[in-house]
C-alpha cells in the first residue's frame, strides 16, 4: 500500500514498523484536603526534579549526536520547566482550590501553551508545543508513567508515530531507527529538522497511521515523501538495495572531507568555504574546506552603532587566519550599500541601491574607514595566508586608488615597526560586467580574481534576484554569463594569475564540470555544499570537463546548457 505524505528528510529506508504511541495521560479530578496540600506540592517538586534530570540526559545526548544548536533546545526546555510563573501557577491552584497536582499542572500548562499556540508568529507557536511537551513529561512523572522514550528499541526499525516531540527525536538512536513516518507535521516541524540533522529518511504528514501494523514491513521514500506499507517482495528487494546505496552515499560524503579535490587525471582544485564570521571557519574546515574563498566582513559594520576599531577587526581576521593554519583566507573588504540600514554609517536610502553608493565606492570615498580595515588586514597577515579582495570593482582607476591606500598603510606599519606579510596577495571581485570585459587589463594590477556570480548574473542579465515575477530570467548558466566567466578565467591565466568563484554557482553541481572545464582554479561555497562538489570533482577528469565546457559554449540557451549538464551528470551516476 502506497501512502502519500510530505518529504521530511531525504533518502530511502526499509525496515519493520515500530509503532510509537504514548499511553494517554488520564488526569484525576479529585481534590485534596487542606492537610494534604503540602504533600501535594511536594509531589510537584519530586516530579520536577525527575523531569530536569531526564531533560539534562536528553540535552547531553543531543549535544553529542546533533551538536550545540539542537542541545540548546533542551536547555531552553529546562529553563521553561523551572519558570517561576509555571511553578507559582501550579502551587497557587493547589493551595487555593485543593486541585490535585496533576490537574493543576494540566490547567497551568494549557493556559500558557494556549497563549503561544494562538500567536501568529510560527516561532512562538512552536514554543507552545515545547510547553506541552514539558507538561506531558511532568505529568507522566507525577503519575509514575515512565516516559518510555525511544532509547530502548532494538533491531532496525521504521518508526511510525502520530508526531514526535523534540525530546522523542533527541532520544532516538540512528543505528536503530532507519526511517521515520509521522501522521502530523511538515518539512519545518521539529521531527523533520532533527531527522535531517541525523540523516534519517523521513516522511511527515501522512495523516493516518492506522494502516501501519507493528512489525510489518515498510519502506520510507524520504525524498519523494511517500511511505509503502507491506511492499511486494520485488519492491522490498529493490528498495533494500536503494536503502543500502543511500547509506553508502552518506558514508562516502563524510569520508570525502578528508580527501583532496583531485580529478581522475590528477588535476588539483582548490575547494574553499564561504564564511560570514570567524567562528564559521571551524565548520567549513570540518566539511572539508582547504581555505576560505570569501570571508564577508560586513557583520563587523552591521553589529554595532560605531565603526569597528582597528583592533576589533584585527582580532577577527587574525582568528580566521590562525584557524586555517597557513591555508589561504580571502577577506573581502566592506561590501555594504543603501539596501542595508547601518547605524555606524549614515547611508541615505537610494532608488537603486545595487547601482548606488556601495562597497569599494564608499571605501574609496571614506579613507578614514577604509584605512582602518586595510591596516587591520595587513596586521593579521602576519598570522596566516591572508588575501585582500576589493568588491564591486568596475574600473582600473578604482583598483589603483585602493592599492595606493594599501601602500600608504604598508608604509605606516613599516615605520611603526609592525609586522605584516610583505607579499600579501591582492585581488578583486568580478561582479560588474564591465570588469569582466576588461579583465585582461585589470589582471595587470591584481594577483587574482574571484567571480561573484550572484551579482554578475544580476547585472549582466538586468534581473533583480529578489523579484519573483522575473525569477525564471535569473539564469547563471545563461550563455552570456558563461562567456564572461570564460573571458575572466582566460585573462587571468594569460598573466599567470588565478581565478576563483565565490557565488552560488560555485556550489551548484550542475555547473561543476563546466566551470572546471573552463579552467576555474578555485571553488568557494557554503560549507554544506563542499562534500557534494568534491565528490563530483573526484569522479571526473579535467579533460572530459574541458570537452563538456567546449560543447556548452556551442549551445544557444540556458535551458539547453542545464539539460546537457544534467544528462552528463546522470550518465556518470553523479545525481
Amino acid at each position: 500500500m502506497r501512502i502519500e505524505g510530505i518529504s521530511g528528510s531525504r533518502g530511502v529506508a526499509v525496515g519493520n514498523v515500530y509503532k510509537y504511541i504514548q499511553e494517554e495521560i488520564i488526569i484525576p479530578d479529585n481534590t485534596v484536603a487542606d492537610s494534604e496540600v503540602e504533600n501535594e506540592i511536594g509531589k510537584f517538586a519530586t516530579a520536577m526534579a525527575a523531569t530536569l534530570k531526564q531533560l539534562d540526559t536528553i540535552r547531553q545526548k543531543a549535544l553529542i549526536d546533533m551538536g550545540p544548536e539542537e542541545a540548546a533546545i533542551f536547555e531552553a526546555h529546562m529553563q521553561i520547566a523551572q519558570d517561576p510563573s509555571l511553578s507559582d501557577g501550579i502551587k497557587s491552584l493547589i493551595e487555593s482550590t485543593g486541585t490535585n497536582v496533576v490537574s493543576a499542572t494540566a490547567q497551568t500548562i494549557d493556559t500558557f501553551a494556549g497563549i503561544f499556540l494562538s500567536m501568529d508568529d510560527p516561532y512562538m507557536r512552536e514554543r507552545g508545543a515545547d510547553i506541552k511537551d514539558i507538561g506531558d513529561r511532568l505529568m507522566r512523572n507525577m503519575l509514575g508513567m515512565n516516559p518510555r522514550g525511544l532509547s530502548h528499541i532494538s533491531g532496525e526499525v521504521i518508526l511510525v508515530a502520530p508526531d514526535l516531540t523534540p525530546s522523542d527525536t533527541a532520544s532516538l538512536d540512528k543505528n536503530v531507527v532507519k526511517g521515520i513516518i509521522t501522521a502530523a507535521g511538515g518539512p519545518t516541524s521539529h521531527a523533520a529538522i532533527m531527522a535531517r540533522t541525523l540523516e534519517i529518511p523521513a516522511v511527515m504528514g501522512v495523516g493516518d497511521i492506522e494502516s501501519f501494523v507493528d512489525g510489518a514491513r515498510a519502506v520510507v521514500l524520504g525524498t519523494d515523501g511517500v511511505a509503502l506499507m507491506n511492499p511486494s517482495d520485488e519492491e522490498w528487494t529493490d528498495y533494500s538495495a536503494q536503502a543500502e546505496a543511500f547509506q553508502e552515499e552518506l558514508k562516502r560524503l563524510k569520508d570525502s572531507a578528508n580527501l583532496d579535490a583531485v580529478t581522475t587525471d590528477g588535476h588539483r582544485v582548490d575547494l574553499f568555504g564561504n564564511i560570514g564570521k570567524a567562528k564559521d571557519a571551524d565548520n567549513a574546515v570540518t566539511m572539508g574546506a582547504r581555505g576560505i574563498g570569501l570571508y564577508r566582513t560586513e557583520f563587523l559594520y552591521m553589529e554595532n552603532d560605531d565603526l569597528p576599531a582597528e583592533d576589533v577587526q584585527f582580532e577577527e581576521y587574525k582568528a580566521v587566519a590562525e584557524k586555517l593554519q597557513g591555508q589561504p583566507v580571502i577577506i573581502r573588504t566592506m561590501d555594504i550599500g543603501g539596501d542595508k540600514e547601518l547605524k555606524c554609517l549614515d547611508l541615505s536610502e537610494e532608488m537603486n541601491p545595487f547601482l548606488g553608493y556601495r562597497a569599494i565606492r564608499i571605501s574609496l570615498n571614506r579613507p578614514d574607514i577604509f584605512k582602518v580595515q586595510l591596516r587591520a588586514l595587513l596586521r593579521a597577515s602576519a598570522f596566516g595566508d591572508i588575501h585582500i579582495m576589493y568588491p564591486m570593482i568596475a574600473s582600473v582607476e578604482e583598483v589603483k586608488a585602493a592599492n595606493a591606500m594599501l601602500d600608504t598603510c604598508k608604509n605606516e606599519l613599516r615605520s611603526e615597526g609592525i609586522a605584516f606579510d610583505e607579499n600579501i596577495k591582492v585581488g578583486i571581485m568580478i561582479e560588474v560586467p564591465a570588469a569582466a570585459v576588461i579583465a585582461p587589463t585589470l589582471a595587470k594590477y591584481v594577483d587574482f580574481f574571484s567571480i561573484g556570480t550572484n551579482d554578475l548574473c544580476q547585472y549582466t542579465l538586468a534581473v533583480d534576484r529578489m523579484n519573483e515575477a522575473i525569477g525564471h530570467l535569473y539564469q547563471p548558466l545563461h550563455p552570456g554569463v558563461l562567456r564572461l566567466i570564460k573571458g575572466v578565467i582566460d585573462a587571468s591565466h594569460e598573466q599567470g594569475k588565478f581565478t576563483g568563484m565565490c557565488g552560488e554557482l560555485a556550489g551548484d553541481p550542475m555547473a561543476t564540470m563546466i566551470l572546471l572545464g573552463l579552467g576555474l582554479d578555485e571553488f568557494s561555497m557554503t560549507a554544506s555544499s563542499i562534500p557534494l562538489i568534491k565528490n563530483i570533482l573526484r569522479s571526473v577528469s579535467k579533460e572530459e570537463c574541458e570537452a563538456v565546457a567546449a560543447h556548452v559554449l556551442t549551445l544557444d540557451t540556458a535551458e539547453e546548457i542545464t539539460a546537457y549538464a544534467k544528462s552528463v551528470l546522470e550518465e556518470k551516476g553523479l545525481v
Binding site: 540548546a72 517561576p84 503561544f116 514554543r127 553589529e303
Partner: protein, 86 residues
C-alpha cells in the same frame, strides 16, 4: 526602586535565544525585576512571561528592579537589550 526605559536594539528582539539569555541574566539578581512592553508586564526571570510580551527590535520597554542590587540589575539588563547577541 529603580526604573529605566530602553529601546531594544538587539536584532532579534526578545525572541528565541536572546529571551533565554535575558531571563538567565535576570535570575542572577536578588531584586524583583519586571519588564513591561506593549501594555503587558512580565517577570523578567520568567521566560514564559517574557516571551509573551512579543518585544521585537525597536520596542520600547520599561525595566523595573526592586531590591538590594536594583542598580546593578537595571544596568546589566538594559545593556543586554541594547547589544547584539547573534
Amino acid at each position: 526602586m529603580k526604573e529605566v526605559t530602553v529601546e531594544i536594539t538587539n536584532e532579534s528582539g526578545l525572541h528565541a535565544r536572546p529571551a533565554t539569555a535575558f531571563t538567565q541574566l535576570a535570575a542572577k539578581f536578588a531584586s524583583k525585576v519586571t519588564i513591561a512592553a506593549n501594555g503587558k508586564t512580565a517577570d523578567a526571570k520568567s521566560i514564559l512571561t517574557v516571551l509573551t510580551l512579543g518585544a521585537t527590535k525597536g520596542t520600547s520597554v520599561v525595566l523595573t528592579a526592586d531590591g538590594g542590587d536594583e542598580d546593578e540589575a537595571v544596568a546589566a539588563l538594559s545593556e543586554f537589550l541594547t547589544t547584539n547577541h547573534d
